[in-house]
């Protein structure tokens, strides 16, 4: 049981071929291109969702921030679809790997910050000091604000990794417990099974929410810096 718990998180290779590349590229084929004015049902549903998310998310940005629309929409589609696909049995979820989430978080955060420093240097530097702080506190506060700035990409990546990994681990554990309890005492197994159902519903929500939170925070950093 000990080593089995984490074996679902190892990157899959098959006789030396890194299959993980194909698994990361797999959600791409689930989003077909809209070619016509009136598309098939699958494409229509996706277009409707993209419009909804786009209007909701990009409303608060100015013209400069809206140039990031494509990036943010593809980000939320990727993270959402990858998380949802990971809820299928036996599948591998790339977003459980910290390496991939860091690879997503650090460039996006750095891009927003560098853009802010280039275009609005004074305002970006002014973010380090909130308004109305007492004068003796200023040096310490600047240090604290710098640390909180640099921790933003780490928090983005670790938040996504930890949430998805913890959810998968819980499902494994409670599912294993249900199986073992079935032969010991069936009513307890039923209770555990009901817990498992609720957990799965929660995981569906978490999968989508995490995508949303990731993208929202990136857009927030963008808003500060445009």
């Amino acid at each position: 049981m000990n080593e089995n718990l984490f074996t679902s998180f190892i990157t899959p290779t098959m006789v030396g071929i890194p299959v993980v590349v194909f698994i990361i590229a797999f959600p791409n084929i689930l989003f077909p291109n809209p070619n016509r004015l009136i598309n098939n049902r699958w494409t229509t549903i996706q277009l409707w969702m993209v419009n909804l998310i786009l209007k909701q998310m990009m409303m608060m940005h100015n013209i400069k921030g809206r140039t990031w629309s494509l990036m943010l929409i593809s980000l939320i589609m990727f993270i959402g679809s990858t998380n949802l696909l990971g809820l299928l049995p036996h599948s591998f979820t790339p977003t459980t790997q910290l390496s991939m989430n860091l690879g997503m978080a650090i460039p996006l955060w750095a891009g927003a910050v560098v853009m802010g420093f280039r275009h609005k240097t004074k305002a970006s530097l002014a973010h380090f000091l909130p308004q109305g702080t007492p004068i003796p506190l200023i040096p310490m506060l600047i240090i604290i604000e710098t640390i909180s700035l640099f921790i933003q990409p780490m928090a983005l990546a670790v938040r996504l990794t930890a949430n998805i990994t913890a959810g998968h681990l819980l499902i494994h554990l409670i599912g294993g417990a249900t199986l073992v309890l079935m032969s010991i005492s069936t009513p307890t197994a039923m209770i555990t099974f009901i817990i498992l159902i609720f957990l799965t519903i929660l995981e569906f929500a978490v999968a989508l929410i995490q995508a949303y939170v990731f993208t929202l925070l990136v857009s927030l950093y963008l808003h500060d810096n445009t």
Binding site: P32, N40, L85, H90
Partner: protein, 115 residues
């Protein structure tokens, strides 16, 4: 594309049946080039050389995958009244594929007394 009976008559033997053109005389060398034949028309001995004749460039490898994708897409998804079947078949295939990938670790989770 000439029919088989015309090929046979060209070479001087008249053994084609009236019904079909699938009758093959083993002494006659094939006149259709090896590359354009489908899998069912290739003889078993010529199979390795037929495989080696494939196009192994990146665009040559991507071609069949793209064709396969569009065959599935136009049959099940890109229709006027598509249903959940198109998507769920893909997800089931993905699940089976992931099961095969992780079979090695799943072997230990069988409910046997002695592993």
């Amino acid at each position: 594309m000439t029919t088989f009976s015309e090929d046979l008559s060209q070479l001087g033997t008249v053994r084609a049946k009236a019904s079909g053109t699938q009758f093959l005389d083993s002494k006659i060398a094939s006149v259709v080039p090896l590359k354009e034949r489908n899998l069912m028309d290739v003889k078993l001995g010529a199979l390795p050389s037929w495989i080696l004749m494939w196009d192994f460039t990146p665009s040559g490898i991507a071609g069949p995958f793209q064709q396969g994708y569009y065959q599935y897409y136009n049959k099940y998804v890109n229709v006027k009244k598509g249903s959940i079947t198109g998507l769920s078949m893909v997800l089931t295939a993905y699940m089976v594929f992931s099961y095969c990938l992780s079979y090695k670790e799943l072997k230990h989770e069988r409910l046997w007394k002695y592993h």
